[in-house]
């Protein structure tokens, strides 16, 4: 069992009641995470997704969260405002095999929220900065957590590639590319 440890937890808090559905968070997120920061805007590459449905008055920002290694059998039931919603749209699992949410539209690589990790760190993640209506806020608090292995982007990307192409093919490609790099 993993050891318990005190740790500062930083978290983006979602208050769906305050969301006006403008999706500025999606736009800025895609810009911030583009290779050359803000060189492109494309909500399709965003790591936050606003489930946007004015016809049912449903505006729920969802952050790309843990990776879903397999299809989830138990679809979640949500009761919002007395109404029942039986769907997985509010689920933050990235790279989920049952849907295309939080997958890069071209490479299909998973898109996980990293709270805009950077050096030096941002005061607040980008989506929180642009949400002046406070549907998104940022909280820091001390918490006892079980230490576990963090999935970083490289892990997730590689895992996805291994799943798609098999370990041998990935290894072979890796070796070939490294060799190419080393050849003057």
């Amino acid at each position: 069992m993993a050891e318990k440890k005190k740790k500062i937890v930083k978290q983006i808090i979602i208050n769906a009641d305050e969301c006006n559905g403008c999706r500025a968070c999606e736009a800025i997120c895609s810009g911030y995470h583009s290779t050359d920061k803000f060189s492109i805007i494309n909500p399709g590459r965003s790591r936050i997704f606003v489930h946007w449905d004015p016809y049912r008055n449903l505006f729920v920002p969802v952050l790309g969260g843990p990776q879903a290694p397999a299809e989830c059998l138990a679809r979640n039931k949500y009761i919002i405002d007395g109404k029942e919603y039986d769907e997985c749209l509010f689920c933050g699992a990235v790279d989920c095999p049952s849907r295309e949410l939080f997958q890069d539209p071209d490479s299909k690589l998973p898109l996980k929220c990293d709270s805009c990790e950077s050096e030096p760190p941002l005061e607040e993640p980008m989506c929180v900065q642009v949400c002046i209506n406070d549907a998104l806020t940022y909280e820091e608090r001390e918490e006892e957590v079980e230490e576990e292995r963090e999935w970083d982007e490289l892990d997730m990307g590689l895992e996805h590639l291994i799943k798609t192409f098999g370990p041998d093919k990935v290894l072979e490609t890796f070796e070939r590319l490294v060799k190419k790099e080393q050849t003057p």
């Binding site: 403008c22 999706r23 810009g31 590459r45 946007w52 449905d53 004015p54 008055n57």
Partner: protein, 661 residues
């Protein structure tokens, strides 16, 4: 590599089913920016000058603005353009929301539609996949219901839909295109869409919109965001609450409707109720508003929340979306004191896809004709006694073009002429055949006279802005001009002096401001709107409010950071003037002349016919137009509109330059 814009148009012929993705000459962006500018150019070059709006050869164009889909706040407008069935002139109606940015992300700046589908269809655009799909199952369905059903079909909550309702299918001359609370509602373009047998366009896109100067774009974004936040918290002192903020007038959030209900006209734009606003009404309306509004909502990439989701149990979707003055248009026209009634009927009318501005006026016009014996029980069998019920009665007749509804569906101007029997006399609130703002005032306002008369848009709210609508109270004037960086270069001294002295003794309407200053003020207001219509930035963040986030000084840098187009203030001004002049040229070619440039006859009680002619002369001259309001050869050539000049000479609209002098 193109930035900000995709550089591609989607050309679709609905008659043959042919679909093509066509790259545009980048030179056109320099000349016309995007949005309305490009649409006007396409309409001029490709649609015959005498085409009927419902002719399959008439184009229906949907454009995203140049900045749509970039980080620019509020750059989300869709500019729909065609010939208007009502005015027969160029109709360009705009809406905010999410549709145009989605089109950009799908890889297109515009959709150019021609022809007519053999049966009702809708378009499905998903990146490179474009399909014309059968829409038989959507026939007669409401605008919200259609959007809802298509989104269900796609199982993707990011699909953005715009649709027409029964009114558009039946070619009602004031039918709208609806996309959530966003309506391209003016000038009947929903009827043109109906004439092409096109029910809806659904879009989904996951492609990149590149920005030319990413870091600068980010800085500008946060600068503007800070100012937006400041303006939302700091209404301008000395200005009516409804105009003191930014955005569309904040009628969903504000409860105080004294300004609209006591200074705008009730019934068929006939009379003011100066004592209407009482404590009792305020309390009752506030209760209704709180109960009916479920949530405040924004358009894409804008924090301002001008819209609201309204509860409505009479609709299959149980709710609809609203903003701005449509909160009051129906109740004021029906002379009803019930805000509940307005929320109810506005929802039904939007579901049918009707313009919330013209529709109530047409209904009030019919009621007036009935009360004056011009329409009788024969025309209106079973016409109820109560005005609210009468409006529902008329709504059903109009959207079905049933009985008298078939005539009323052409709008006040055409209906009055089809009915005859003196009905023409009751057509008192239209300009260029289009229903105008329901305002009846005392003294002629020379600035608004020019905007009503010469405006190409048919809607004053899409022309006015930047300056207060009445003199400021003395005690706030100094403070107002001290912090007013929005004023165009070279005009600072004159415009600031205007604010400081306007309202003083001898500095009042109609002879103040003098004609030349009126022209300059009108030009500024117009130009800001034309820039927005090209860039796709919402007027609520730019051309409509006083002291807005976007202005002539920061616009060039925003455009350049997003698109890489190096443009300075003067060039941007000239470009907007080019677009404004091209729009006028299209209308001139359709027959519009000086005689058409008249505000509603009774808009002001005190009129000064000779002085008004002088105002018009001064404005035409200032613009470089001749006495008929036609841009001269010299003006056209200075604006790189030589092709317009040549066409005008060929058609005999203008004489060659040497003969003109």
């Amino acid at each position: 590599m193109r930035y900000g814009e995709t550089g591609y148009d989607l050309e679709i012929d609905l008659s043959t089913g042919n679909i093509e993705k066509v790259e545009r000459d980048p030179k056109l962006t320099e000349l016309y920016l995007g949005g309305l500018g490009l649409n006007a150019y396409t309409m001029w070059s490709r649609v015959p000058a005498d085409a009927d709006p419902f002719d399959p050869d008439n184009l229906l164009i949907f454009a995203a603005g140049l900045l749509d889909g970039t980080m620019a706040h509020g750059a989300n407008r869709t500019i729909v353009t065609s010939y208007s069935p009502q005015t027969k002139l160029l109709g360009f109606s705009m809406m905010g929301g999410f549709w145009a940015p989605e089109l950009k992300y799908a890889g297109y700046d515009r959709i150019i539609l021609k022809g007519k589908a053999p049966e009702l269809v809708y378009l499905w655009i998903n990146n490179d996949k474009v399909e014309i799909r059968d829409a038989k199952h959507l026939k007669g369905k409401g605008t919200y219901e259609t959007s809802y059903l298509i989104r269900q079909e796609m199982k993707d909550s990011k699909v953005q839909v715009m649709a027409i309702g029964l009114a558009g299918e039946n070619r009602v001359f004031f039918a709208s295109l609806e996309h959530g609370r966003n309506s391209a509602s003016r000038l009947g373009l929903g009827a043109v869409m109906g004439s092409k047998n096109l029910k809806a366009i659904a879009v989904r896109g996951t492609k990149d919109v590149p920005q030319a100067k990413p870091e600068r774009m980010k800085e500008l974004y946060f600068e503007l965001l800070k100012y937006i936040q400041y303006r939302l918290q700091n209404p301008l002192p000395g200005i009516p609450g409804i105009l003191a903020y930014i955005g569309s007038p904040q009628e969903m959030k504000l409860f105080d409707e004294r300004w609209h209900t006591t200074s705008f006209a009730w019934g068929h734009a006939r009379y003011r109720r100066k004592d209407f606003w009482t404590e009792e009404i305020e309390k009752k309306w506030a209760e209704t508003q709180r109960r009916r509004i479920e949530r405040y909502v924004s358009c894409y990439n804008c924090p301002v929340e001008c819209g609201a989701i309204i509860r409505h149990d009479g609709l299959t979707t149980h709710r609809y979306l609203m903003k701005c003055f449509s909160k009051l248009t129906y109740l004021m026209a029906a002379e009803s004191d019930s805000l509940e009634f307005n929320f109810d009927i506005a929802g039904k009318a939007q579901e049918y896809g009707l313009d919330g501005f013209t529709t109530p006026q047409v209904m009030a016009f019919a009621v007036e004709l009935y009360e004056n014996g011009i329409l009788t029980d024969k025309d209106l069998p079973g016409f109820p006694k109560n005005n609210e019920e009468r409006f529902y009665y008329l709504l059903e007749k109009i959207v079905r073009r049933e009985g008298i509804g078939d005539i009323l569906a052409d709008g006040v101007y055409w209906a009055a002429r089809r009915i005859g029997k003196g009905a023409e006399k009751f057509d008192h609130n239209t300009t260029k055949k289009h229903e105008q703002m329901v305002i009846k005032l005392g003294m002629l306002n020379p600035i608004y006279f020019l905007m009503y008369a010469t405006g190409e848009k048919g809607n004053i709210t899409q022309i006015e802005g930047q300056i207060p609508q009445a003199p400021l109270p003395k005690e706030v004037r100094e403070e107002f001009v001290k912090d007013w960086p929005h004023v165009p270069k070279g005009k600072e001294e004159r415009f600031k002096r205007f604010i400081l002295e306007w309202g003083d003794e001898g500095k009042v309407f109609p002879f103040y401001p003098p004609p030349d200053l009126c022209c300059e003020l009108v030009e500024w207001q117009e130009i800001m709107h034309y820039i927005d219509d090209c860039t796709g930035v919402c007027a609520g963040l730019s051309s409509f409010p006083i002291k807005p986030p976007y202005h002539i000084h920061n616009y060039p840098e925003i455009i350049s950071a997003a698109t890489g187009l190096e443009i300075d203030e003067d060039e941007l001004w000239t470009t907007a003037t080019r677009v404004r002049t091209l729009v006028r040229a299209i209308n001139v070619r359709r027959g519009m002349r000086r005689k058409d440039e008249k505000p509603p006859e009774d808009h002001w009680k005190k009129r000064f016919p000779e002085y008004e002619e002088k105002l018009l002369d001064t404005y035409y001259k200032y613009r470089g137009w001749n006495k008929e309001g036609i841009p001269t050869i010299k003006t056209l050539k200075n604006l790189n509109l030589d092709y317009v000049a040549e066409d005008f000479i060929k058609r005999g609209i203008l004489k060659p330059e040497e003969e003109e002098e």
